[in-house]
């Protein structure tokens, strides 16, 4: 199975159908292990039990950026190599990425609530994630606004790449803006000093969520390929004018045209 084989959507569909159950199974097992380890993890001496939120917050935050990376590669595929699966991959990744980003935001604000006393603090990290979320929503709006998928694909690809270049700049500006207004962020998530007792569950959860993304993404790509197939078939269906001749011409509105309803 080489890359050129994968370019063929029919082969891709066959392959996806074969490996999806395995991927789903692996995801479920890893998620179960990760969840068990997170539940069993000890409390942090500073944060107490709230540190458990980290085990789902950090994987989601990591995925929120990873998915944009995947979409950027797909965007290159659309613009440079015109790979037939690239825009399918980009389009189907966007809602999943938006969902993970949303979860990163919500879990982050729930994690911050005990520390800040409010659900939302304009903390540099969370604010950057919020902007990323807005960019995901904008991208999804772009996909929805244009009916023709291949035309929408190019516009979305350009926007995705511009976003990929801009995200570090936005992150830097937000950090700068944040330090300008308040000394240091209270919110310190993870970091290399993390205890081994936390590191393992976090690692397992991160892998489990990445697998979850791959599973969902493949399934969504399969849906998108089918959707485009339906679309092109429907366009063929529209242009095939069946009984369009003198016989149809004589059928008036009140006439005997109704016998053909069942076919449509």
């Amino acid at each position: 199975m080489t890359l050129t084989d994968l370019a063929n959507p029919t082969r891709f569909l066959a392959l996806t159908t074969r490996i999806l159950p395995w991927l789903a199974g692996a995801t479920a097992i890893l998620l179960a292990i990760g969840l068990y380890q997170s539940v069993m993890a000890p409390d942090d001496y500073q944060q107490g039990a709230t540190v458990k939120i980290m085990f789902i917050h950090v994987p989601n935050a990591w995925l929120s950026m990873f998915v944009w990376g995947v979409m950027s590669i797909a965007a290159l595929g659309t613009l440079v190599w015109r790979h037939p699966l690239a825009d399918v991959a980009a389009k189907s990744a966007a809602p999943i990425g938006a969902a993970f980003t949303f979860l990163a935001l919500v879990t982050g604000s729930l994690w911050g609530r005990p520390m800040w006393g409010t659900y939302w603090e304009w903390d540099a990290r969370l604010t950057s994630v919020l902007i990323l979320f807005l960019m995901y929503l904008g991208l999804m709006a772009l996909w929805r606004a244009v009916e023709d998928p291949s035309r929408a694909a190019r516009a979305a690809a350009v926007l995705t790449l511009v976003g990929a270049i801009n995200i570090p700049i936005i992150k830097f500006s937000v950090d700068w803006w944040n330090t300008l207004h308040q000394p240091a962020s209270v919110f310190r998530a993870g970091g290399p000093t993390l205890d081994k007792a936390f590191l393992w569950p976090l690692l397992v959860m991160a892998i489990a969520f990445s697998l979850l993304f791959i599973t969902l993404h493949l399934a969504a790509m399969r849906n998108e390929i089918l959707r485009r197939r339906v679309r092109s078939l429907q366009m063929m269906q529209a242009s095939s004018s069946r009984t369009f001749s003198a016989e149809a011409g004589s059928a008036s509105c009140e006439g005997n045209g109704s016998k053909e309803i069942g076919i449509a």
Binding site: A7, N8, P9, T10, V39, D43, G48, A49, T50, K52, I53, I56, H57, N60, P84, V88, P95, I96, A99, F102, L103, V106, T107, L110, W111, R113, P114, S150, L212, L216, A219, A220, R222, N223, I225, L226, R227, R228, R229, V230, S232, L233, Q234, M236, Q237, S240, I263, A264
Partner: protein, 59 residues
Amino acid sequence: MSLGPYASFIVTSYALVTAVVLLLIVWIVADYRRQQARLREIEASGVTRRSGRSAADMR
């Protein structure tokens, strides 16, 4: 196992993640079923897919 004074936040965040992931799965499965049903419907109505050109179908 005690979750301390902030148990509700921990439970809420885990519940939310579960809910959103389940929602994604349900959406994707429902979408798959819908597309399959449409394909069957179209093929039943007699429009045939040029199987040799399925790569071009996507465009």
